[in-house]
């Protein structure tokens, strides 16, 4: 006997979910595999492990990691300010957070580059005072990725922060905890799952970011050449299978990251909810 769900329409909505997923996600993914499978395994291995490509992964992953770590810290502070304090222009700032989602990435890249070259007004300051070049270095790539990733963290942490009952903090205070302990032992554990998910989302997004980075990177091979740019150059040569091979590796990396995220999040939230 089939067990009836209390919520009606499971069959239909599940069907819709599956078809949408296949059209939007699975079919493009399959085509990746199909194109890649035109290569033999050794060819595939050669294509994705060339030194140039390896350095591309390294540049992409290291800059994305640094940018996402910075975003995790800064995003949390931003979310904290937006939830806990009232100040004029709060709504405006709250809206601005989403701008990186809406802005075409190329526009972001071009304007960031313009500002951070040794002649741009931000870049000039750093160059004259500290001798630091921002645009056309890995630092520049990181700056672009921070810009792209920040909304992910803020928008993940914000709702959780809003839901944390102020009574917990009051209770901690009454029981003698100072504000530092309260944050570490009471608030932060609650936030951690959201923070991890925000961090991973930003990280996954940054690894694949192309539009803004190509302008600020300088694209020097072995120095500031990101993996997505290598995919573009394979496409330019109309070498679909090489392009999809590199894409497949990137996809695998993203998949691993997202899985680790899911596991981490599950274990953290179990601990927080006292189920462990």
């Amino acid at each position: 006997m089939k067990r009836k769900s209390i919520i009606p329409g499971f069959g239909i909505s599940f069907g819709i979910t599956i078809s949408i997923l296949s059209i939007v996600v699975l079919i493009p993914l399959c085509s990746l595999v199909v194109f890649t499978s035109k290569l033999s395994f050794s060819e595939f291995l050669y294509t994705v492990t060339r030194p140039r490509v390896m350095s591309g992964y390294y540049v992409s992953i290291s800059t994305a990691l640094v940018a996402s770590l910075i975003n995790a810290v800064m995003g949390m502070i931003l979310a904290w300010i937006l939830v806990r304090y009232d100040f004029p222009g709060k709504r405006f700032i709250d809206g601005i957070i989403e701008l990186p989602f809406a802005l075409p990435t190329a526009v972001a890249g071009i304007s960031l580059t313009h500002m951070t070259t040794t002649n741009g007004w931000v870049g000039k300051f750093f160059y004259d005072l500290f001798g630091i070049r921002i645009a056309y270095t890995r630092l520049g790539i990181t700056v672009a990725l921070i810009f792209i990733g920040i909304p992910f963290v803020v928008r993940s942490v914000q709702p959780v922060l809003e839901k944390i009952d102020i009574q917990y903090e009051e209770a901690a205070y009454i029981m003698g905890a100072d504000s530092g302990t309260t944050f570490r032992k009471v608030i932060f554990p609650e936030l951690l799952p959201a923070l991890i998910s925000g961090f991973t989302l930003a990280f996954a997004r940054c690894i694949g970011e192309y539009g803004s980075v190509v302008f600020i990177a300088g694209n020097t091979p072995y120095e500031t050449e990101i993996a997505p740019l290598l995919i573009m150059s394979e496409l330019q040569e109309f070498d679909y299978s090489a392009a999809t091979s590199i894409a497949l590796v990137m996809l695998a990396i993203a998949f691993v990251i997202l899985s680790v995220n899911a596991l981490l999040q599950a274990s953290v939230s179990r601990r927080v909810n006292g189920l462990a």
Binding site: Y136, F215, N219, L235, Q236, F238
Partner: protein, 367 residues
Amino acid sequence: MKKRLLSVLLTGALAVSSLTACGTAAVSASGASGTSNAEGTEEKPVIELTNVSYDPTRELYAAYNEVFEAYYEENFGQRVEVTQSHGGSGKQALEVANGLEADVVTLALEGDVQVVSDAGLIDAGFTSEFDLDSSPYTSTIVFLVRSGNPKGIYDWSDLIREDVGVITPNPKTSGGAMWNYLAAWYFFEQQGQSEEEILDSIRKLYGNVVVLDSGARGATTSFVENKQGDVLLAWENEAFLSLKEYPGEYEIVVPSVSILCQPTVAVVDEVAEKHGTTDVATEYLRYLYSNEAQDIEAQNFYRPSNTEIYNNYVFTADSNTITEIPEDGRWINDNITLTDINHFGGWQEARAKHFADGAYFDQIYEQ
């Protein structure tokens, strides 16, 4: 309950599909009446023509389309409306190959048109379909330097000096930038260097590249807006546009040798046949060779292929530096030795030898 919902959905789906069917029927009916009208009376429908081109031809085709539309209506009694599409040449080629419905393509190099042909959309032999390898206008690679030429850059040999910063796009992501690389190669070859020495010079040149942009427009932005580097390797027409836009800020230096950049035009046979636009499309490209069109091309700083018109734009240069756009419109400095792609054995060979994975261009970056 569930069944009723399903039947409602099904009816809905049926209704929608029959409606769309009616819609298509209505459209095709009106299309048919349009054609029958065209046979009988003077009310002809406007023919729409799509020209997929690359980035720096925007101004050229905006001017040319107007002239062509007037010409075609006058001589063939038929109104034509040309729609333009611009973008990186390689990307545009991919899009047409993947199904963007272009009646004609006017791309930066033969290799890109070849891609569309390889997709089965253009019949083989497209380079002999029109005169002069199907390139009605050409260009070349020149240097754009900052006003007063502070680094004293006069020829390719100056580009490998240690104090010079070069801006040029990556030939692996920008098809047009292959011309830059090949022009440099030809210069060092003319110096009598062996292949190994040439490779070494090229390595030095690209070692001086400050920003290896992914496309030509990006490179111009790096040089002009972000003030990077001392010299931009640019298509002649792009260099003149910068001169026009920022008078007094830049100078063009014409090197002793360079390469003849031949943008290739072709009718996309499959699409044009389907649209019934083969005749218009062919005429559209053929008319690019007319005196009127050649003048427009020259005014947009492309070198016209018609020698008579070409000569109208040539000036006798006493130096290889151009500091402003000449008032009499004579901008072509003829004092330059141009090679062409045939010197490199055609595109296929050039690509395999220089730009394929692991070929020369990749090798110059290996440590």
